[in-house]
Amino acid sequence: MPKSALRLPESTLELRSIQSRSFEAESEAKILAATVAAMQDMEYNIDTVQIDLGVITASKTTDATSNSAVVGYTMLEILCIAHGTYCDTSEKIPDKFRTTITMVVLPSLARRGEFTARITLHYVTINTLGKVMKRESIVKAETYQQVFEILSNAIFIEANEE
């Protein structure tokens, strides 16, 4: 195991603030229902729900093929053949992303009716041979903002239904 595997990086606090947001809701049940709906809005399938702990994990598989990558590697193979050699580039061509989102929604200890949602996102890139090419966490603030916007809309809809 690498020495720093369990060491908190300096960016922990910054990342935590990017990944967290407070929301107001009538009840824990309502905000959890809105969270599930937001996951469906973003086209995820729910993998696990631990309602007592406020944990919801969902995932989806999306297309990772890019035309320029396919064209680039096909040209590379043609050039190899033209030079009398063989190079198989299939393991370098990305085929799909498997994105997993975990949302933890907990009631605020300080304020009644307020909840904190913390999201973590990561994805694996799988090549055309079905092998994992890379695993990455998403740390881009903009992506989390977009997710929180969808969650915020879902909470609004949940609060105004019935």
Binding site: M39, I46, V49, T61, D63, S66, Y73, L76
Partner: protein, 137 residues
Amino acid sequence: MKSGLKTVLIMLSIVGGCATQGPDVTGASSQLQTRQIQTRQYETLDKKMTMRSVIATLQDLGFIIDDADPNLGTVTATRLHKYPMRMTVVVVNKGEKQVSVRASARIGKKSVTDARTYQDFFVALDKAMFLTLNKVD
């Protein structure tokens, strides 16, 4: 000539390697429109019985149940026949007499956005609900 080819090969590898962007995290469809085609309201059964009907429908359609939570009303199922399909169905109470059922599906790398597919699912669910309501096992 050889070094020229080498340069082209290196450049092509770089182009190919860099061309992939990150995954689509938030989905491409409109939040409200998607909900509309994926949701039906029922007045006949309660939440628990509706969930039972949902599970029976998914089984009728050849799915295997991955996860179900009675509190949140979620059921997730997978079918691998011909093509991989994954569905999440959520049953929630709407007021005292109504339940709302929302189904969302993915086939392989794509989200199902076709209204007809969801309509077919709800036709199957209607039948299961009728059988549950009339206590037919």
